[in-house]
């Protein structure tokens, strides 16, 4: 039983990442009808927002400390980060420690801006072009973003540790009398993603803006005829989708150190998630994300890998193929979306 719960927990954090990326992909596809192959790159850019903030915060100046000597007897040079000298050593250390959660704050405006620029500058011109062209141009864009990040940050993964307070493990099963020890940060990640997913759904359900967007997803032309500037609203939705992917990336850094091709690795799987969930269905994307994450974690158990070697590598694709062949619209796909 304990092992069973652990596997579900294991699946939840990867599933959260899948669900968040797939949610963004579906938002873009549902509103603008564009297949965004650069979405994984946005996830990666988000992760590198955290890296950048961490580097900025740890920028430091050197002072010569006369009281301490290094091994040669010379006065020791001490590096002090600027934030520590500005806010005092304790507050400064706290800020540096909490760099990753703080990066969420700067990632939101950055990603909104990136999404806005991307839509207005590039994707806008591709609405009337075939899907193949959309795939190709966003694929090219993904390569470009990836290479730019590689140029500035190098090819190696960069460690982004979580805050000390959230770095340990916790026994989740204590209340139930079970032994379920699990890294705290992964639980934080899961809660964070549930929060974002809930926020997006609430935003679409309970605000006027969300209502208009939903109406636009159902029938863009009629909403336009009613005198609403639907293009503008959809552009903002693109920004929001980019921000969701970016936030997923920011918080994923401590689980898996960001490198420049992490986006591509996630993108392929997220597409599979979208297709399994049903193209254009937001709940489907979230459901399929968690479902495939959990399935993958069950397939990674020693029992599964000894029964069928390597099943953990191919389970997601197998499920996708089976789902597409038995339920061609995906788990929760609507009729009439991408049916041509």
């Amino acid at each position: 039983m304990d092992a069973f719960l652990i596997q579900i927990l294991n699946g939840l954090d990867k599933g959260s990442a899948y669900a968040l990326i797939a949610l963004g992909l579906t938002l873009i596809f549902g509103t603008l009808g564009v297949v965004n192959f650069a979405h994984g790159a946005l996830f990666m850019v988000g992760a590198f927002c955290a890296v950048t903030l961490q580097r900025v915060l740890t920028l430091s100046f050197e002072t010569v400390d006369e009281t301490q000597k290094d091994f040669l007897g010379n006065p020791l040079k001490v590096k002090t980060p600027y934030v520590e000298s500005w806010f005092g050593p304790e507050a400064g250390a706290w800020i540096i420690d909490w760099a990753v959660p703080l990066a969420v704050l700067i990632a939101i405006p950055i990603m909104l801006l990136v999404g806005y620029v991307m839509e207005r500058g590039l994707i806008k011109h591709f609405y009337k072009r075939p899907h193949a062209d959309q795939i190709l141009v966003t694929f090219g864009l993904a390569i470009v973003i990836q290479e730019i990040v590689k140029y500035f940050f190098g090819a190696n993964p960069i460690q982004t540790p979580p805050p000390d307070a959230l770095n340990g493990v916790a026994n989740l099963g204590a209340a139930l009398g079970m032994e379920i020890v699990y890294p705290v940060w992964r639980i934080v990640y899961f809660c964070f993603s549930v929060l974002i997913i809930g926020g997006i759904f609430a935003f679409l359900q309970f605000t006027t803006f969300g209502m208009v967007v939903r109406a636009g997803m159902a029938d863009r032309e009629t909403v336009g005829l009613l005198g609403i500037n639907i293009d503008r609203k959809f552009t903002i939705m693109f920004g929001i989708a980019a921000a969701v992917a970016g936030l997923a990336g920011v918080m994923y850094g401590p689980i898996n150190p960001p490198n420049y091709h992490m986006g591509m690795d996630f993108l392929v799987l997220s597409f599979v998630v979208v297709v399994v969930g049903g193209m254009g269905s937001l709940p489907g994307a979230v459901l399929a994300g968690f479902l495939l994450g959990i399935l993958e974690s069950f397939a990674s158990t020693t029992w599964a890998t000894t029964t069928i070697p390597g099943i953990n590598q191919i389970i997601i694709y197998l499920v996708a193929i089976i789902v597409l062949l038995t339920r061609p619209r995906g788990l929760m796909g609507r009729k009439g979306v991408m049916e041509e």
Binding site: H131, F139, L141, V144, Q146, M279, I314, Y317
Partner: protein, 402 residues
């Protein structure tokens, strides 16, 4: 000639001349001059030109004619390579059985994948093929290389070892891939003054295979079957409404292009008897898409041009480093020179992929017909300039990109 009309015959002849004379054409600079680094006439690179040309020509039969964008064609290339190396391991280093088996196995594999993937069209098809290719990659990389059943040799890559059976290995045959004793690696170097031209057996075998493949592609393009595939591209729904089942046609196109990919994979293994899983990764599939789009999807010569273009510039750009750049811009004042080199630096050397990505985006945005369309536009522009004074009615009327 060969059942082709005049225009296609001349195209075939041009391609044949270009490939056969490639060692001369690609080596225009004397080998001791500073420009020698732009020479591309060495066997390894020339082999890659024609092999990727075959791959792209095959991909174009699917994508260019039917419009189905497959993101998993590298899987067939990889399967072809693996089967060819297995033939080397089991029979002998003769490349004929290896390449034949590579084509057959890739054909069967693409039949299986195409049968499933072609149930869906559009973006679903792209993602299904992508999923299949990634699955094959995962299988080849880890699953099928366990000690009990080692089919792919995992990370190391499949290669021929001394204790392999090689049942048909003749006593006086060379220990490298060969065609009835003619080694793929044997190169004859012709020295003409400062120039050196390499004539490599492997290259010429690939070139002949490519010409045959190209000829077949022309025949497919001009056949009623090719016409049917174009009809699928322009309006599949209407085809279905007229009571015609398009699935066999698209499946046939898929299998043919899969066999082309297998042929390319087999030849790749024949040039260098080693097959690794990274050939099946989806970035490799993306590369052939890039080649086809860059050259011009749906045109005959486009994919070959695209393959040559990408492989040539990949090779050249990767070689340029800061010293070379400083050499070029030495005529500028010092500060300006450093500035220019700093600007260009991210785009060359290891940054080649950045240039490629930008180039690719530019082509998709501004020139959807690829290099071929660019050439046609240029030709039309030149013609209209020339005819300006002559009041010609036909100016500006260009052939639409196919």
């Amino acid at each position: 000639m060969f059942g082709l009309d005049k225009k296609d015959t001349s195209l075939l002849i041009v391609v044949a001349l270009l490939t056969l004379l490639a060692p001369f054409i690609l080596n225009p600079f004397p080998s001791d001059s500073a420009m020698a680094q732009f020479n591309a006439g060495y066997p390894d690179l020339m082999q890659r030109f024609v092999i990727f040309g075959i791959f792209a020509v095959g991909f174009n039969i699917l994508f260019g004619l039917t419009g189905y964008l497959s993101f998993g064609h590298a899987a067939f290339l990889g399967v072809g390579s693996y089967s060819a190396v297995w033939m080397f391991k089991l029979l002998s280093y003769n490349i004929i059985p290896a390449v034949v088996l590579a084509v057959i196995i890739a054909g069967l594999f693409s039949l299986l994948i195409g049968f499933i993937s072609l149930r869906r069209s559009g973006i679903y098809f792209s993602i299904l093929t992508l999923a299949f290719a990634q699955m094959s990659f995962a299988l080849a990389y880890s699953v099928l290389s366990n000690p009990k059943f080692n089919l792919t040799n995992g990370e190391t890559g499949l290669q021929v070892y001394a204790d392999d059976p090689q049942w048909l290995h003749g006593a006086n045959m060379p220990d490298v891939p060969h065609l009835f004793g003619l080694s793929m690696r044997s190169t004859y170097t012709l020295e003409l003054g400062p120039w050196a031209f390499d004539f490599n057996t492997g290259y010429y075998i690939c070139a002949i295979v490519m010409m045959v493949a190209f000829y077949l592609a022309i025949r497919i393009f001009r056949s009623p079957f090719g016409m049917m595939l174009r009809a699928v591209k322009s309006n599949q729904q209407r085809m279905n409404y007229t009571g015609l089942n398009t699935r066999p046609y698209t499946l046939a196109a898929f299998v043919i292009s899969g066999m082309y990919a297998g042929l390319a994979g087999g030849l790749m293994a024949a040039m260098d008897p080693l097959a690794g899983a990274e050939r099946m990764q989806w970035t490799a599939s993306g590369e052939v898409v890039l080649m086809t789009i860059l050259g011009g999807a749906g045109t005959l010569i486009g994919p070959v041009l695209g393959a040559g273009f990408i492989k040539y510039f990949e090779n050249i750009f990767s070689k340029i480093n800061d010293n070379v750049l400083h050499g070029w811009f030495a005529f500028l004042p010092d500060g300006l020179e450093d500035f220019v080199v700093t600007i260009i630096h991210p785009f060359v050397g290891k940054g080649w992929h950045l240039t490629l990505g930008l180039l690719f985006m530019m082509v998709v945005i501004f020139l959807p017909g690829g290099l071929v369309e660019g050439g046609q536009r240029l030709a039309a522009w030149v013609r209209s300039k020339r005819n300006k004074g002559q009041d010609d009615e036909t100016t500006g009327k260009t052939e639409p990109a196919e």
